[in-house]
Structures are given as structure tokens and as C-alpha cells.
């Protein structure tokens, strides 16, 4: 896999507050196009906060730092413009969207992104054909396309639905927050296959995960450990294996020593 020298995502000294608590003290990381970075960290270390802050969630206040996507400063942009610029953040717990049919939600989102890219909108027929095929590949029952978004979906179905959105929207950078939690073995295979396909097309990934099995299959370029709102350690698969063996508490002690 070839990566351009200029990182697609450049985060510098990002400082983020949720309410009165500063969750990210200072986070810096680079992700080249087509690269895959695995982000690990104990509960509460700030992994999800990084995703929400990059996405522009109003509850996550950026107090300092910079985040560039393809050279464009993300932080002044409203959430939808960050998405249209190519940022996709999958949710750890995707919310219900009551009454909004999944296929309508997906098509509306896709056409909003198409419009921003100067591409023609998809009509309902073309969209449905593509969505059905992709849903089938991801193991998402076709019936869920006609149901309100995430309403009554199981945990695994919600995650597969996130993958469906990812596959259709084809972002430049995707942050997948514990996409494997709640997934069965086939679901994890679907994640790996989709990530590999999109990486080959140049999509970069930040994958938050606790599970070595999927991380190994993803073959990350970099593994980062987040601790107390900072990148405490950077490495390769060996770092992920060490964390899996010894846990985060032991890693923190080692880093301090």
C-alpha cells in the first residue's frame, strides 16, 4: 500500500472539554490517506471524545489545537460540512431516528454528500439497487432498509448499519468507534473486508477497538495508546499484543517508568 507523504488527517495539540472536565489534554496524530491507525486506551481515556470532537458535536468543546483534513481546517466547520469534507465517525451506540426510514435517511445523506462533491443525485431506484446489494454483502437484512433508522435493531444490526453508511458514503477518513462490539464473527469479517476495500481506494481509518483478533486482521500501520487525554505510546502490532497481554494499567506503569 502506498501512502502520500502529506498526512490526510493532521491533529495537533487537540484539547477538548466536556462540560467542566478536560478529557483530551493534548492529542497529536497523523493519518495518511489509505492508512489505518488503531487507537487503544482504557475506558475514559478519551477515544470517543476524539471522534465526537472531530465530528463537531456541540457538547465537545475544543479549547485548543488544530485538526486538518486534506489541509482544510475542520474545527471552524459545522458538523455537516465536516462530513461533506469526507469525515465519517461511526458511533459506538448509534441512536434511533424515530420514524425516518433507513433507506430515506441513507439516500438523503448520500445525496447531500453527492451535491457537495458536485455529483448528480441518485434517484430512489438507483439508490435502492446499490443499497440492497451492499446490505447483502454486509449481512444486513434487506428488511431493515425499510424500517426506521436503528429502531428495534439489535446491537450487531446497528453496527452493520453503520458499515452500510460507511460503504455508501465512501468518506476520505473514517473513525470507527468500537465497531466490533456487539458483532458476531461474520460481522467482524464484514468489517475487515470493507475496511480493506475502502483502504485500497484511499480511505484512511482510525479504528478504536479493544479486541486483538480484529486488530490483527486489519493489519494497522500504527497502533496508538491513549492515556489521560494524551497519546502515551505509539507502535505497531506488537504494542497491541502487549496491551492485550498485560492490560492498560501495566502499560501506564511501564510508560511512567
Amino acid at each position: 500500500m502506498t501512502h502520500t507523504t502529506q498526512p490526510l488527517l493532521q491533529v495537533r495539540d487537540l484539547r477538548v472539554r466536556v462540560g467542566e472536565r478536560t478529557v483530551l489534554q493534548s492529542v497529536s496524530l497523523d493519518v495518511p490517506a489509505g492508512a489505518l491507525v488503531v487507537l487503544m486506551g482504557a475506558n475514559g481515556s478519551g477515544k470517543s471524545t476524539l471522534g465526537m470532537a472531530l465530528a463537531g458535536h456541540p457538547s465537545y468543546r475544543v479549547d485548543g489545537g488544530q485538526a486538518l483534513l486534506g489541509g482544510q481546517d475542520l474545527l471552524p466547520l459545522p458538523a455537516h460540512e465536516r462530513a461533506r469534507a469526507g469525515l465519517f465517525v461511526s458511533y459506538q451506540s448509534p441512536p434511533d431516528v424515530p420514524g425516518v426510514k433507513n433507506n430515506l435517511f441513507l439516500r438523503t445523506a448520500l445525496n447531500a454528500v453527492h451535491e457537495a462533491r458536485g455529483q448528480p443525485p441518485l434517484d430512489a431506484f438507483d439508490f435502492l439497487a446499490g443499497a440492497r446489494q451492499t446490505a447483502k454483502e454486509l449481512g444486513l437484512p434487506e428488511a431493515l432498509l425499510g424500517r426506521p433508522v436503528n429502531e428495534g435493531f439489535s446491537g450487531g444490526e446497528r453496527k452493520r448499519n453503520e458499515l452500510l453508511q460507511l460503504a455508501l458514503l465512501q468518506p476520505r477518513l473514517a473513525l470507527l468507534d468500537e465497531i466490533d462490539s456487539g458483532m458476531d464473527v461474520d460481522g467482524v469479517r464484514a468489517v475487515v473486508a470493507l475496511v480493506q476495500r475502502l483502504r485500497a481506494q484511499g480511505t484512511a481509518f482510525i479504528v478504536v477497538s479493544h479486541y486483538l483478533t480484529m486488530i490483527e486482521q486489519l493489519q494497522p500501520d500504527t497502533v496508538l495508546r491513549l492515556d489521560q487525554g494524551r497519546i502515551a505510546e505509539a507502535g505497531d502490532m506488537e504494542l497491541a499484543r502487549r496491551i492485550a497481554r498485560t492490560g492498560f494499567a501495566r502499560q501506564a506503569e511501564t510508560a511512567e517508568a
Binding site: P95, V100, T108, A109
Partner: protein, 398 residues
């Protein structure tokens, strides 16, 4: 003087003697209706209207329809046959005013089909006069299943009207009616719709109303579950960018094993004023009755005034009842989720609102597929939301 003229005169005399709705009236004190002359005046100096009154859509075979002239004694007798005389209740002056002004009416009779397949009716009403009192009488035979889409929309610009509409709906034993009502008057209209619904044993009635605001807009249901095992579901979606609406539902459970659900969602902004009243009465002897009321108000922007009034009157022990009223905001997590997928704020908001509206109507009517689903997916809701609920200033509290 013929019998029709005598009946009209008697109604006017009753109004003269008893007067109009009192300002202190419990049912109407939040949004008092315009004075009596508005509901009777002929506006002789105004240009005539061209509306056809009631029109029944194509494909309504299997239904008997009679348009009747209320000024013709014989036709008036046929039109009013079996209907109760206006009483002395709080809304009775509207009923007397209707008797005094009613010019024509439509009687429909839906028979049961051997296959019990639903009979689908599309009924549209356009005003014929500046002040009018249309009448609809619908009888659904025992065992029949009917789907009725009833629309009141201002298709083209016309002078403002005062419309005092009454509908009497009677469901025979085991009959079923799914009733979608659209009431979208013009801004200056004064509209009062009164529905009187009676359910026999085992009958099932579902009414989903979508209504917008106007100068004065009353939607009042009085539903009586007379037979054991009857059930009624009422859902109301009130969309108000401006103007006002007063929605009143009175449900009376009079027999055992009856069930009633009332759900109202008010989405309002600007200086709109909405009142949602739900009053359910469970009569003595109504063993196993089940009642639920759920009223929700979502102020979207500006200073809308939303008044939600759930009320239960329980006169029997062996019942299940729940009610509640909530004021809240659009679901922020869903809004942000949509924006993170690329929808701008206005598009995300419209999508979420339309979803909430669809969910409400489908909970009442059922998801289904046929003519109801087609209508719901046909774009009316999206257009109404776009027209009524433009993104605006922030909500102000206090």
C-alpha cells in the same frame, strides 16, 4: 313555511335565546371561538366561491353516496335522519348554528363486502360559501372495513371562510374504519370541525389527524364506545408555524373491554398558539377498559404557546389507565447523527420532524401498504412541514 324553514328558524331562535359559547366555558376558555355572527353571516358583499363542496374520489364502488339539499324538506329529513338533536353541552351552540346554516350534506353508507376487503374512499371538501355548515354522515355496516382519506385543503387562493362542519360517523358491530383527516385551512379562515363517532360492539375506529393553524381552528372529536370490545385510536399531528388550533377529544367508554388511545404531537413555532385537550371518561360497569393518553408538545423556535390538557374521569374499578403530557425538544442525538452524515441543519431538522410525524400517524393507522401508505408517502407531510415549520430563531422559554 315548510318543515326545513321551520327547523332553521327554530335553531336560530334557540341561539337567540341561549346565546353563544360563554367566555368562561371550560372547554373553550383557552381559545374562545369567534362570535356567533361569524358562523351565520352570508357575507353578501363578498364574491361567491366556486368550491364544489364534498367530492368523492374515483373507485368508490360499493358505497352509497347521497348529496342532499338541506333546504328541501324531504331531503333535509333524509339528511338528518337518525342524528341527535343539538343538546345543551358546551359545544352545543356550534351544533345549533350548524342546524341554522346547513345548506347541504353528504350521506355515505359503506356495506360489508364478502371478502371483508377494505373499501377505500377519498373524500375532499372545498368551501362553497364564505360562511358554511357542511354535513357528513357516514354509516359503516356491521363487519365492513373502510379506509377513508378526508382532506380539507385550500387548493387555490380564495377569500377567507368561516366553516362549521359536523360529521356523524357510526360503526356497526365489528366494523372497522381507518380514517385519515387532513385539515389545512388558509391563514385567515375560521374553521370548526366537529366529529361525532359511535362504535357498536367490537367496532374499531382509528383516526389520524394532521392539521395546521389558522385564524381560528377547532378540531373536536366526541367518540362514544357503546358496545363491548369496541376500540378507538386517535392521533393528532398539529403543525403550527403561526395561527392557532384548539384540538379537543372527548372519548366515552360505556361498555366492557373497550380500549381507547389518544396521542397528540404539537410542533409549533413563532407565536403560534395550540391547545390539546384529551378527556376520557370510563363509565360505571366498563369492566376491563383500557385507556391511554399521551400528549407531547415540541416548541421549535420563537415563542409558541402550547397547552396540553390530559384528563381522565374513571368511574369504575377494574380498568387500566395511563396519561401524560410532555414538553420537549427534537431529539438532539438524532439531529447530530443526521448532520454527521452530511445533512445541513435545516434538512436534518425537517427529516427528523417528518419522521416523528410519520411515526405518530403509523402508530394510529398501522404501517399498512395500500392507499393510506401511498398517501402518507405522497409528500403532503414534507410540504406542510416545509411551509409551516421553517427554521427560525431559537426557542425562548419563560
Amino acid at each position: 313555511m315548510d318543515s326545513a324553514q321551520a327547523d332553521i328558524l327554530a335553531a336560530r331562535e334557540h341561539l337567540d335565546a341561549q346565546g353563544w359559547i360563554a367566555r368562561r366555558s371550560e372547554a373553550f376558555h383557552h381559545l374562545p371561538p369567534p362570535a356567533l355572527p361569524d358562523w351565520l353571516a352570508a357575507h353578501d358583499d363578498a364574491p361567491p366561491l366556486n368550491g364544489p363542496g364534498w367530492t368523492l374520489g374515483q373507485g368508490a364502488s360499493g358505497v352509497q353516496a347521497h348529496w342532499l339539499d338541506a333546504h328541501d324538506p324531504a331531503q333535509r329529513a333524509e339528511l338528518l335522519a337518525g342524528l341527535p338533536r343539538p343538546g345543551e353541552g358546551e359545544a352545543a351552540p356550534f351544533a345549533w348554528a350548524h342546524r341554522a346554516l346547513c345548506r347541504e350534506g353528504l350521506r355515505l353508507h359503506v356495506a360489508a363486502t364478502p371478502q371483508r376487503a377494505p373499501l377505500c374512499l377519498q373524500l375532499h371538501h372545498q368551501p362553497r360559501a364564505r360562511a358554511e355548515a357542511p354535513l357528513l354522515v357516514l354509516d359503516v355496516a356491521p363487519g365492513a372495513h373502510c379506509v377513508l382519506i378526508e382532506t380539507h385543503e385550500a387548493d387555490t387562493a380564495r377569500p377567507a371562510v368561516a366553516q362549521n362542519l359536523h360529521a356523524h360517523i357510526r360503526l356497526g358491530q365489528g366494523a372497522r374504519l381507518q380514517h385519515l383527516r387532513i385539515a389545512a385551512p388558509q391563514a385567515g379562515d375560521r374553521v370548526a370541525h366537529h366529529l361525532h363517532v359511535q362504535l357498536a360492539e367490537g367496532a374499531d375506529y382509528a383516526q389520524a389527524l394532521a392539521a395546521t393553524g389558522s385564524g381560528y381552528h377547532l378540531q373536536r372529536n366526541h367518540i362514544t364506545l357503546q358496545g363491548a370490545g369496541a376500540s378507538a385510536r386517535q392521533a393528532a399531528l398539529l403543525l403550527l408555524g403561526s395561527g392557532q388550533i384548539d384540538q379537543q377529544t372527548y372519548t366515552d367508554l360505556q361498555a366492557a373491554q373497550c380500549a381507547s388511545q389518544v396521542e397528540t404531537l404539537v410542533l409549533a413555532q413563532g407565536r403560534a398558539h395550540a391547545v390539546a385537550n384529551a378527556h376520557t371518561r370510563i363509565a360505571p360497569g366498563s369492566d376491563g377498559a383500557s385507556v391511554r393518553q399521551r400528549l407531547a408538545g415540541v416548541p421549535l423556535a420563537g415563542h409558541p404557546r402550547l397547552i396540553l390538557r390530559p384528563h381522565l374521569e374513571i368511574l369504575h374499578d377494574d380498568v387500566q389507565a395511563a396519561h401524560g403530557a410532555t414538553w420537549g425538544a427534537l431529539p438532539e442525538d438524532a439531529l447530530f447523527y443526521a448532520r454527521q452524515r452530511g445533512l445541513d441543519e435545516a434538512a436534518a431538522r425537517a427529516l427528523i420532524i417528518e419522521g416523528m410525524a410519520h411515526a405518530l400517524l403509523e402508530r394510529c393507522l398501522g404501517p399498512g401498504d395500500g392507499v393510506l401508505a401511498e398517501w402518507l408517502q405522497g409528500g403532503w407531510l414534507a410540504r406542510a412541514i416545509a411551509q409551516q415549520l421553517q427554521p427560525g430563531e431559537e426557542v425562548h422559554h419563560g
